[in-house]
Symmetry: C2
Subunit: 170 residues, 2 copies
């Protein structure tokens, strides 16, 4: 596993997220039990002079509560793990231990208590430094409102400082 800049794999990661099968958003509960949900959206960039990865999670999701721990890992399997992504995108960690069920391999994070997924290609270790709530009046595009928010449950934006980025293929 090789340390890289957060920008290095960006094009590949966005292709996987936008046109591929998504990525894992990994969190852990107070006892250290990990969970993974599937995300199809991810932003990356600079805020407050720091590299920041931003994920959007609906309040109804199990992961939303786990993010109160203040840490997450975005693990990106470039062109692999389609079955695991499908499972993690359709089941809730409230009902099933996804790591056990899928026999997901994990490795300790180096900067956070959330594990990495060594079978992925890229991992971003993040600490939540800020969050912001989407509110109905903030959704300005009617297509987005109709497609994603007909039932409310508007996403929270979690801004995570990227503490470490890894290429796990090497």
């Amino acid at each position: 596993m090789r340390p890289i800049t957060p920008w290095e794999p960006f094009a590949e990661v966005q292709e996987q997220v936008l046109h591929g099968e998504g990525a894992f958003l990994v969190t852990a509960d107070a006892a250290g039990r990990p969970n993974a949900m599937t995300i199809g959206w991810l932003q990356l960039g600079t805020v407050w002079g720091r590299p920041v990865a931003q994920v959007l999670v609906r309040p109804s999701r199990y992961t939303h509560g786990l993010l109160a721990s203040g840490e997450f890992v975005v693990a990106v399997p470039l062109g692999r793990m389609g079955e695991e992504l499908a499972f993690c995108g359709s089941r809730s960690g409230r009902d099933v231990d996804k790591f056990r069920e899928l026999r997901l391999r994990s490795a300790p994070g180096t900067a956070v208590r959330v594990p990495l997924l060594p079978d992925c290609a890229i991992a971003y270790e993040c600490r939540v430094v800020a969050r912001a709530e989407l509110r109905p009046e903030g959704i300005l595009d009617e297509g987005i409102r109709a497609k994603y928010y007909a039932r409310g449950d508007l996403h929270t934006l979690f801004l995570g400082e990227v503490l470490a980025t890894w290429d796990l293929r090497e």
Copy 2:
């Protein structure tokens, strides 16, 4: 001027933003008069299945009101235009017509009514699809709170769908 994907110049753009002199956030008022502020922060990625550029602007800024037009351009001068960036970062468009003062060259946007800056290297044409307000309880990092928010004026996050991305050097 060559159309590119939003991801293509990301590493260069982030280096300019994070370690360099920043980028221009260009907007226009109701009469079409353009303005540019200097930004040192920029996020890019996928949200709602669309490419999104996210900028943060304090409510006190002249640009904050102009963003009500629903459109902006992020114009990135890789390693150039340091003087112009310094000027646009220290003066308000309320007091001075920056385009006239700096004799900034402009070219019509192709997807928005905000102009491009043909002397920049990269330009993202964006339509604001959502916004979210940072609130005091959402700032979880004490260092960020102390350094950026001692006087309040918490940033609004503007999420702009990227309608076109240009390499202006060719």
